[in-house]
């Protein structure tokens, strides 16, 4: 579905158990998904929080490998929560877990530091696969997201720091993605490995996160960011 099924890591060791946390205001959803994911045996829930505030209090101590984060919750939104948790736990993968895969909703979360997104009504097996993919360094980016990322960087093309601009290769990959090429096709076209492409995409997200964090700081200090 939302996460590219290609390039799924296959060499998972059955002994390793990944810890995860779930932030969702619906009790039933939390319970069901914990049960469904734990039924795969390689995932273990270490924290389940009904609100973003709760998550900020509990999750940093629990140090999960991956967090599933709902967007619409009472109190602070999943996006704001993601931004703060990403600062506290930079190594932790945060996946937006929402009822809608509307990129317009998802993109702000990616911008805030989320590593990917899943939809709640997806088949459990699909979600399981996507989680493993993210943990193995796969960077989910559909052509729709790629288009928005391209747009994002175009709008901020006047930023002073060169390091925050897209490199030629990164732009090239993004443009191909937004034209509808799959990672595999891009790899073939550019004669790169899929891993390399993923690391480029990771870089792109990283730059985006730096942007959004800079903006947050600038906002805090009341300095115009651009």
């Amino acid at each position: 579905m939302s996460i590219s099924a290609s390039g799924l890591a296959t060499n998972l060791q059955s002994t390793s158990v990944y810890t995860f946390a779930l932030v969702d205001d619906e009790n039933a959803t939390r319970e069901h998904w914990i049960k469904l994911l734990e039924s795969f045996h390689d995932f273990k829930c270490v924290a389940a929080c009904p609100t973003g505030e709760d998550a900020l209090r509990v999750i940093p101590a629990a140090r999960p490998r991956v967090i599933l984060m709902d967007i619409f919750m009472p109190g602070i939104s999943g996006i704001a929560c993601t931004a703060q948790l990403k600062t506290a736990l930079p190594q932790t993968q945060i996946l937006i877990f929402t009822a809608s895969d509307d990129p317009e909703l998802v993109f702000p979360a990616l911008e805030a530091g989320a590593d990917g997104y899943l939809i709640k009504q997806a088949q459990p097996a699909e979600v399981h696969k996507a989680l493993l993919g993210v943990l193995n360094g796969e960077v989910p980016m559909t052509s729709g997201i790629a288009r928005r990322v391209t747009e994002y960087f175009r709008k901020r093309s006047n930023l002073p720091h060169q390091s925050m601009h897209l490199s030629h290769r990164e732009r090239e990959i993004l443009v191909m993605l937004s034209k509808g090429y799959s990672n595999k096709e891009i790899a073939a076209e550019l004669k790169l490995s899929i891993t390399t492409i993923n690391s480029y995409l990771k870089n792109v997200y990283e730059k985006m996160h730096v942007h959004s964090r800079t903006q947050a700081v600038a906002k805090y200090l009341s300095i115009p960011s651009s």
Partner: protein, 728 residues
């Protein structure tokens, strides 16, 4: 300098005013005519304007002198059906329009008689005159009495009518020597009073031919010539002319000229005015009180024959005055000793009726206003208006009295309370009227066009209309935008509710179903039902997602539409084997995009995608979006087997549907395909800047005419296929 000029001009006016007024108005002179060339010397000229040209006597040939036709006035010896002579005759000059009458104060039985025999008795008539004049002077009438002893004191009266008051005329009586002495006292009444000839009695038999001329300004509509018999031989009446002097040259021959032809003649004659003051008399209301205010009114006419060359107003009052001309405030004064002079030349430029109005006020004791206005026209005519009994006293409660052109009959006449320079308004040390104050020359009030009534009315109407239109439009705009914002808010609310309620609930349903499935490995017979539940719930969620996107007013922009088209296409094609390529122009404008356009364009593209998947068998599909001169152009192109659009079953393959959707979005749809060459569907929809200001559109354009139907059914097929293929 200007003061000196004005003073000298005042002096000049005073100098020529003196003879004009001291010698009364009319002028009576006697002129001799030569025996040869009499016609030419008679002064009768077809260039003159005549009211009457009458030849008395029994002459039977029509008479014409220098082109001027004369009416033959034949007076019978006897009245019709009677032996008595007639004492009264009257008629109308059919050549010139004037009326005449001749009467004699003689006993009944006596009266006028023609005398044709006179020609035979005439001694030396040909040495007195020649030409047509000789004919005129050979026929005559005279008064017959029985016995022929016209006694002293008998008066013959000739009256001529049809005059205009204030106009200048000349009445001439032509005569020649007879055989006996005839002494007549001549007098004229043309200017109100009887004016005798200074050389009375005039001897008509003094020798040769002559005429007596009376030049006057008509005070009434008629003029009278009175001949009082001094000797028993009564007068002979040969010929009379009455001419207007304004239009004609007024020139005439004769051996002497009593007055210069160029001498100014007053047009309006007031009471006798002391010429060195140039004012009328002191006037006031019939009674004088302390603390009294009195308003005086007088209108006058400036003829359009000649422009005004000067106009001077002199005024003084005891105790105060406030003077207006045609309603315009000229000034005020408060000392009866001082004569204030106003130069009104600039204010009297237009011919027609003007109104002079004075408001006088009295503190105590005697009260009076005195003034004189003399207007000189370029053709040397003079109009003089002095304060006299012809002024009207306007009641103090009258409104706009200073501009009224006609006096009300209810306004009483002013009363003369004293003459200029006389007691009680008399100075001890010097003459009254010698202290002169020159007021600044009043300028005509130039009203610029933007201060004129028509302009103000036009501007006011324009403003009223503009404001009305403005209010109307603003109202509509406010209502419109209010309506818009209400609808937008409501749509956003519906989208949120659908998302938070239905969507979240369905998601839980799916999760519950999946959870139940994982718990029920032991019951494989329930498994298909649970699968079906989960599938249906996911279908509903997908449809709901579409609906929410369409309803959500926060997605009303072109950018959102395009992003959504791409996202949808990507999602739609993901489960299939068809590769998807995007070619989206980066220079698309930022425009609002109406929900109707969004929805119909979306549905049209969806239809195109469905067609491509179902029928084309293509391996690759291109979605191209670009902006082309106010149009958004979306192309869906596949590399499939194609078809012939002319033979394609439009009903079945949704081509009609696609065209209808494009039309509903306000655009059009074009399908290019041929067998073996793929298919290209191009949907173009024009977009305007902002629809908000197109409020004069009575019917909302594109999209609104279509009910907002939820695309649940439309997407059911594809979604089912997708999920089936996925779960398989």
């Amino acid at each position: 300098m200007s003061f000196l000029l004005r003073l000298s001009r005042s002096l000049l006016i005073a100098i020529w005013l003196f003879p004009a007024f001291s010698a009364l108005a009319g002028t009576i002179s006697v002129f001799s005519l030569p025996a040869t060339g009499t016609d030419l010397a008679s002064g009768i000229d077809s260039n003159n304007t005549y009211l009457c040209a009458l030849s008395f006597g029994s002459g039977d040939k029509p008479l014409c002198i220098n082109g001027v036709p004369f009416q033959q006035v034949h007076l019978n010896e006897h009245g019709a059906g009677s032996d008595e002579r007639r004492r009264f005759f009257s008629g109308c000059d059919t050549n010139h329009g004037g009326t005449w009458s001749v009467s004699a104060a003689v006993p009944a039985g006596d009266g006028f008689a023609d005398d044709d025999s006179a020609i035979g008795n005439l001694v030396g008539a040909e040495v007195q005159a020649d030409g047509a004049m000789l004919s005129l002077l050979n026929h005559m009438i005279f008064v017959m009495t029985e016995p022929f002893d016209l006694t002293n004191g008998t008066t013959i009266r000739m009256n001529f009518g049809g005059l205009s008051v204030g106009m200048k005329y000349s009445l001439r009586y032509y005569y020649r020597q007879w055989s006996e002495d005839r002494y007549i006292n001549f007098s004229f009444v043309g200017e109100g009073a009887e004016e005798p000839y200074a050389g009375n009695p005039l001897d008509l038999d003094a020798g040769g031919a002559a005429f007596i001329e009376y030049d006057f300004v008509a005070a009434t509509n008629d003029v009278t010539l009175l001949m009082k018999v001094v000797l028993p031989n009564g007068p002979h009446i040969f010929g009379v002319t009455l001419q207007s002097l304004l239009a004609g040259t007024g020139k005439h021959g004769g051996s002497k000229m009593a007055i210069a032809a160029s001498a100014p003649v007053p047009l309006v004659s007031s009471a006798v005015l002391p010429p060195h003051f140039g004012v009328g008399s002191w006037i006031w209301a019939s009674e004088t009180r302390d603390q009294q205010t009195c308003r005086f009114w007088k209108s006058f006419v400036i003829p359009d024959t000649s422009p005004v060359s000067s106009a001077t107003l002199r005024i003084a009052a005891d105790d105060y005055y406030h003077v207006f001309l045609d309603g315009e405030d000229l000034g005020r004064g408060s000392d009866w000793r001082i004569l204030t002079i106003y130069d009104l030349r600039l204010l009297l430029g237009k011919p027609g009726t003007h109104v002079l109005a004075v408001e006088g006020a009295n503190d105590f004791g005697p009260a009076g206003v005195i003034l004189g206005l003399d207007i000189q026209l370029k053709d040397e005519q003079l109009i003089f208006i002095g304060s006299d009994a012809s002024w009207r006293v306007v009641p103090n409660n009258e409104r706009n009295w200073e501009t009224k052109l006609n006096a009300s009959p209810a306004w009483p006449k002013a009363k003369i309370v004293g003459s200029a320079g006389a007691s009680p308004w008399k100075l001890d040390a010097r003459d009254w009227g010698s202290i002169v104050l020159n007021a600044p020359t009043p300028q005509p009030v130039v009203v610029p066009f933007w201060q004129q009534l028509w302009f103000e009315i036009a501007l006011f109407s324009f403003l009223v209309i503009s404001v009305a239109i403005g209010i109307y439009l603003t109202g509509r705009l406010v209502l419109n935008s209010k309506e818009h914002s209400v609808i937008r808010r409501e749509r956003a609310r519906i989208a949120r509710d659908l998302h938070d309620g239905l969507s979240a609930g369905l998601t839980q349903l799916v999760v519950c179903g999946e959870s139940a499935k994982s718990n029920l490995h032991s019951c494989p017979e329930i498994q298909p039902d649970l699968d079906e539940i989960c599938l249906k719930a996911r279908l509903l969620l997908d449809s709901l997602k579409e609906t929410i996107w369409i309803v959500n007013s926060q997605r009303d922009s072109l950018r959102d539409l395009i992003m959504h088209l791409c996202d949808y296409t990507e999602t739609f094609l993901k489960p299939t084997t068809v590769r998807c390529r995007f070619d989206v122009a980066s220079d698309l404008p930022t425009l609002p995009c109406d929900v109707g356009i969004r929805r119909n364009l979306m549905l049209a593209v969806k239809e195109a995608l469905c067609n491509a998947i179902k029928y084309s068998g293509a391996s690759e599909l291109q979605l191209r979006i670009h902006w082309d001169d106010h149009e958004i152009v979306v192309q869906v192109e596949d590399n499939g087997k194609g078809f012939d659009p002319t033979t394609a079953n439009k009903e079945g393959n949704g081509l009609i549907n696609m065209e209808q959707r494009a039309k509903d979005a306000g655009g059009r749809c074009r399908v290019v395909s041929s067998p073996g060459a793929g298919c290209q569907v191009e949907i173009s929809v024009p977009l305007r800047r902002s629809r908000r200001f197109y409020f004069w559109h009575r019917t909302p354009p594109e999209g609104h005419n279509d009910q907002l139907t939820f695309p649940l059914k439309a997407s059911a097929y594809e979604a089912t296929e997708r999920y089936r293929s996925k779960s398989a």
